[in-house]
Symmetry: C2
């Protein structure tokens, strides 16, 4: 097991009817800005519940944060925060709204001239404006971690950011919200959380027995929950399992003490930046080719996953590893998620080269758990995913 530090002060409030507890968590003298996305919360009743809970506060709202939260839109919210002397942010939404709120938490206390530097220069945020979240779309785990991803439309760039100052102070997870989520987004949440676990697990063994078993637990639980929640989003029990799986998949716990990969995400972000493909679907596009290209270095863990998660008992280690890759692809396909780039865009030619060039420009010369995947490797992985 590698040395690690684990710190996660986010308070999770989980369950039916808990949105009203917002008022126990936000200081009474706060000036609150509620942030949300395209307005679905006004149709499914969540907006009203939040409004009721905020009853006695001095609060305002800022809607319209788009999927893959855009820097340009966030700058408008930042203006509101500064002009109105906002002191507390409340994200009501999925990963995009929460990630956007994290950027705003950081940017509103940022002393530099250009907030874009927080992203472009990877400035770690040690202190942000306090914020809480009401999760409406399980997927990214952003409700219980300190990372965020922000997109800049004009330059087709998508960058990560984070720091110990960016944990939500609280997150309310009411699984009832799942009943109104469209099937496409349920599928995305399942694929996204599944791949989050893979990025932290499918590397090489370091005899971290519990981390391995926890990761396998989340994978198994997602596989078990997926058909149930895809069949009936109003099944509360499955919604609760779906929601808790997604949070635990990326709240920092399973990544501690073990090598991490994150190459699929690094490459996938480019597919979203270029083509606007849903984040989760970019991951499904790249997983098979990444694991096949790096079969040798990932073989031991792929075979372990084959046995413990998919119950595959036949074959030697390499054969089990190959069957694991197939089983993962089958899972994505079972969700109605295409696993090749060509199923999303006809203009895929040249994508591999463009991404490799970008990585070279940025000096990303070694990604993956060994830090050894070059832009040339990345080019081949993307080509294999056409």
């Amino acid at each position: 097991m590698n040395n690690f530090e684990l710190y996660n002060p986010t308070k999770i409030i989980f369950g039916k009817g808990e949105i009203q507890k917002i008022k126990n968590e936000i200081p009474k003298d706060a000036k609150v800005l509620m942030l949300f996305g395209g307005g679905s919360i006004k149709k499914n009743g969540i907006y009203e519940q939040v409004k009721d809970a905020l009853g006695e506060y001095d609060w305002m709202e800022f809607g319209g944060i788009p999927p893959n939260p855009e820097y340009e839109v966030l700058l408008k919210a930042l203006e509101v925060i500064k002009k109105e002397n906002i002191t507390y942010l409340l994200a009501v939404g999925g990963g995009s709204v929460i990630d956007g709120t994290k950027f705003l938490s950081s940017a509103s206390l940022y002393k530099g001239d250009e907030p874009w530097d927080i992203l472009a220069k990877k400035i770690k945020t040690d202190k942000g404006m306090p914020f809480g979240t009401v999760l409406t779309l399980p997927a990214t785990g952003s409700e219980m971690n300190s990372g965020a991803v922000v997109t800049r439309k004009e330059t087709q760039e998508k960058y990560g950011m984070g720091g110990p100052g960016l944990f939500p102070q609280f997150s309310i997870l009411d699984p009832s919200v799942v009943s109104s989520i469209p099937e496409r987004q349920i599928a995305n949440g399942l694929a996204d959380s599944f791949t989050h676990v893979l990025e932290q697990y499918m590397t090489y063994p370091v005899d971290a027995k519990l981390q391995d078993r926890f990761a396998e637990s989340i994978l198994s639980s997602i596989l078990e929950t997926a058909p149930l929640i895809m069949e009936d989003t109003s099944d509360y029990k499955s919604a609760a399992n779906f929601m808790w799986n997604c949070t635990m998949a990326l709240n920092g716990l399973i990544q501690k003490g073990v090598p991490n990969d994150w190459a699929i995400h690094a490459i996938g972000h480019e597919l979203t930046a270029f083509y606007g493909i849903d984040h989760a679907r970019t991951l499904a596009i790249l997983t098979k080719s990444h694991y096949t290209y790096n079969l040798k270095s990932k073989q031991a863990k792929l075979a372990q996953c084959a046995e413990r998660v998919f119950g595959i008992t036949e074959g030697d280690e390499q054969e089990k590893a190959e069957q694991c890759i197939e089983a993962i692809e089958e899972f994505f396909l079972s969700l109605g998620i295409g696993t090749s780039l060509s199923s999303y865009t006809k203009e895929y030619e040249g994508t591999a080269q463009k991404i490799a060039e970008r990585f070279t420009e940025r000096g990303w010369t070694g990604i993956g758990e060994h830090g050894k995947l070059t832009p040339n490797d990345v080019e081949q992985i993307v080509e294999m995913s056409y």
Copy 2:
């Protein structure tokens, strides 16, 4: 899944050579009281490491906190804290030292006349004096939770306490410390952590898929690690797994959203109070009789554990459940831990009645996950354990 709240702000610093990081965590202007037990830390080098890390601080020490931390001893430490205007506590030890430090954290800010009331009247601690820990004996999980157990020798009483103000600010877990722990205490740590998981898992199903799988992961990991660390305490890899298993077994995560039992602990504390039997061993004494007595209500989870943890595939649900109870007993015996009260004391006659009377006096008329075990049930469970 039941509604739940999860909050755990303790920062874990895990790994070889990390004790020196104490100085990154304690404020420079703190006046520190270092607390420890019987002095084994002066033999195994940990005292020196802590002393080096505290180099520039204004600090004092208080040694001699005994196993099952005694109220009388803690009161002496409390005097020192008040007289010397201590502002930060540093527990260097196992569960007893850390639990004692939690009591002191609470008592040093307590406004009432009689600190014993914190225990006897179950006063929740919302704010305590800040403290950190250096764990030297993996077992109780106290390094990452907000609970403690304190004993009062003169009245043979053992009480729990806790509250959100009693999380360590940081805990340093260096698995190297395991190499100097006597076999008896390694065995205790394995049995203690195993039973902690059981208390949070062996109840009745509420379709909490991930909580179940996480609990099973810890049980499996303990079973896998036990023979390795019993064989060779200087095996760092196994020491690291042992240590992380113990922490995760009782840091609050797996108990959220599911029913909890804790009857074994409630009864076991009495065996320690009466006979001074090691805490972990009292749990091993009671587990089989408790599960056998309550077989029907626990059968589904016992059978699930049989299948997933012990690989038992033969028999119907009841038969699997019974085999699970046998397998758990075999595990305790494999550690050299006796599973009947008579293997610890010859004066066991009347114990069941004495414990039942105490529970009646305290008004504990319904313990266990259903809140339905009466003092009469407790009496029968203890009798079955003779």
